[in-house]
């Protein structure tokens, strides 16, 4: 135990019994599936949960690159914004169906990830972090000036009849909840699979000791690119989802640096390199953010970021492994007792 405790352990808590797990998951799934029925007349809670699922998915995507491959990106909002813009431009200009737009968004964001990763993965630690900041900010500035994408004004999505085919729902927002839940579930299952697959092991090896991984014959560049493309592609889909959800995008709402900040914070706060980390991070941080908006309705006062910043400093100073490392510590103590 002591020898392995340095490596960030896999998925959440140690399995107690697979039966117990299956029952717990079934109960959780049932609750999440039936919850919208109970929330029928409560748009605030419905929106809160939808946003939690969205940000948890984004945190999972960041975690693939930041947590498992150890490449801290503070510019991941770029891929979210590119996804939102891709499907929206396709819908506005060519009248493309949003689902096909989403596929296009995944491809464009993934390709952008590859293009950016190719040069930037030659950089290490701080140099890489700064490069991600700079690339994202450059694209943010360019989109604010580029008239084809609506420049600073942004783009409005064409209003279509509500329905699953059009990925648009007007009066009843419950379908967005299910799409977000499906997004989070499939990405989480993918991460669980990835963690146990060869890719996951190689990524963790690269994170822990890049030179050692190379000496074993794995190309760090190739695997970092794989992680980057997957991560960026998922964020591309999230971008389309967001655009379809709010039906209006502009540079501040999808490309601003604060989105990159929040994506990274969610994974860091919950626990980087863990499956449950981004979910916990999203539940805590998005809830804080949405409620602070109600109780301190000073629009644009950023109370949520104030709390986020303080929490991240505390996490960095006292438990760099995030909330998950605390959970694990408490759990380990209970098992000993």
């Amino acid at each position: 135990m002591n020898q392995t405790s340095r490596a960030i352990p896999v998925a959440g808590l140690r399995p107690t019994s697979s039966m117990g797990h299956a029952v717990a998951f079934a109960v959780l799934a049932a609750i999440l599936l039936l919850l919208p029925l109970a929330l029928g007349g409560r748009p605030f809670e419905l929106r809160l949960l939808t946003i939690i699922f969205l940000y948890a998915t984004m945190g999972q995507a960041w975690n693939i690159l930041g947590g498992y491959a150890g490449q801290t990106s503070l510019g991941h909002g770029l891929f979210f914004g590119l996804g939102a813009y891709t499907s929206t431009v396709a819908a506005v200009t060519f009248g493309l169906n949003p689902w096909l737009g989403a596929v296009l968004a995944v491809l464009v964001s993934g390709a952008a990830g590859w293009l950016i990763g190719l040069p930037c993965f030659r950089l290490r630690s701080h140099y890489f972090v700064i490069a991600t900041l700079i690339v994202a900010e450059s694209v943010h500035l360019l989109f604010s000036e580029w008239s084809f994408v609506g420049a600073a004004i942004g783009l409005e999505l064409p209003i279509r009849p509500a329905g699953w085919l059009n990925f648009e729902f007007h009066r009843n927002k419950v379908p967005y909840y299910y799409i977000a839940l499906a997004m989070l579930t499939s990405v989480t299952l993918f991460v669980v699979w990835m963690e146990r697959s060869k890719i996951g092991h190689v990524l963790k090896a690269i994170r822990d000791d890049e030179d050692a991984a190379r000496s074993l014959g794995f190309s760090p560049l190739r695997f970092k690119l794989i992680a980057m493309v997957i991560s960026a592609g998922i964020l591309g889909f999230c971008g389309t989802f967001y655009a379809q959800y709010v039906l209006l995008i502009d540079p501040p709402s999808v490309l601003s640096p604060s989105i990159s900040v929040v994506i990274a914070l969610i994974a860091i706060f919950g626990g980087i390199g863990t499956v449950a980390g981004p979910i916990i991070g999203s539940v805590v941080l998005v809830t804080i953010s949405e409620y602070s908006r109600i109780y301190f309705s000073g629009g644009g006062r950023n109370l949520d970021l104030l709390i986020y910043g303080a929490l991240i400093m505390l996490v960095a100073a006292y438990c760099p492994g995030g909330i998950m490392s605390l959970v694990r510590r408490v759990y380990a103590r209970n098992r000993k007792a």
């Binding site: 150890g70 900041l133 900010e137 450059s138 900040v261 990274a264 950023n302 100073a317």
Partner: protein, 288 residues
């Protein structure tokens, strides 16, 4: 394009360049001594700009008068940040250092917005208002003073680091921490000192900048990206490199401002960062 315009641009580019250099030198100093990039560096700048603004607006103190006090207060702030936050994370995983200063950045920016709102403040009539006219060229006083202040401050810091016993200790820690420790140098105090000095530098820069630049919560983000480019171009940890690089970048951004929309004038500067770190990772004058 007339010759006057060109000279005018060069002068204003040089002036901004010295400010960029002064901001970047703080980053370079901390990086050189501790190997840590302070992601909240821009917010240190923002804090000192607010301090200068409020000293002016509420206390009636001219920025030139409040400058030493702002620098001193920022020195204390830097030392406090080191003891309260950074000391807990150094020596651990690199990501903890990155996250700690990153969290501080988010916190300070949000705190500024929470306390002062998102409004833009500016100082209208200070001792440095107005401009000189030399030949056909206009030299705005605030920029000239800022450039002069930045140069003096850089020279002072240079003298401190390269001509004093304290500076020798600082360089020793930066070159070989363990060897410095065995020589009886208190590395902890040297770290705190480097945070204090770096913050004081950025305090001076903020004070000078507040004379002619708007003060708002995200102002640090604008300058810190430039500072990263400056530090990378100069070579991480190299103070003289930061000075040279600052001037180059100052001139580059006014020239690119001629060709692209003014909001995009920093994009070529950002591209320069990628070019430098990819082609010459040690920068112009850096060591690794």
């Amino acid at each position: 394009m007339t010759v006057e315009l060109l000279i005018q641009l060069l002068v204003s580019g040089l002036g901004m360049g010295f400010i960029f250099a002064l901001i970047a030198i703080g980053l370079a100093l901390i990086y050189g001594v501790m190997g840590v990039v302070n992601f909240a560096h821009g917010e240190f700048l923002m804090l000192s700009m607010y301090a200068t603004y409020f000293a002016f607006a509420l206390g009636g103190l001219d920025p030139l008068v409040s400058l030493p006090f702002v620098a001193l207060a920022m020195f204390g702030f830097g030392v406090a940040v080191y003891y309260l936050l950074m000391r807990k994370v150094i020596g651990g995983a690199t990501h903890a250092e990155i996250f700690a200063t990153f969290g501080l950045m988010v916190f300070m920016q949000a705190a500024a917005q929470f306390l002062f709102g998102a409004d833009y403040f500016s100082i209208d009539h200070s001792l440095l208002s107005g401009s000189w006219r030399v030949g056909g060229i206009t030299l705005p006083m605030p920029q000239i003073a800022a450039a002069a202040g930045a140069l003096i401050c850089t020279a002072g810091l240079y003298a401190l680091v390269f001509r004093t016993e304290l500076g020798r200790a600082l360089r020793a820690v930066s070159q070989d921490r363990v060897a410095a420790l065995t020589m009886g140098i208190d590395a902890d105090r040297i770290n705190a000192l480097s945070w204090g000095l770096a913050s004081a530098c950025v305090g001076v820069a903020g004070s000078l900048l507040a004379n002619f630049y708007y003060v708002f919560p995200r102002v640090g983000a604008v300058f810190v990206l430039i500072a990263y480019v400056t530090v990378a171009l100069g070579g991480f940890g190299s103070m003289s490199g930061a000075l040279v690089a600052g001037v180059i970048i100052g001139v580059l951004q006014v020239i690119s401002g001629l060709f692209v929309a003014s909001t995009l004038k920093f994009v070529p500067v950002y591209v320069l960062y990628l070019a430098v770190v990819l082609l010459r990772p040690r920068g112009l004058l850096g060591r690794l």
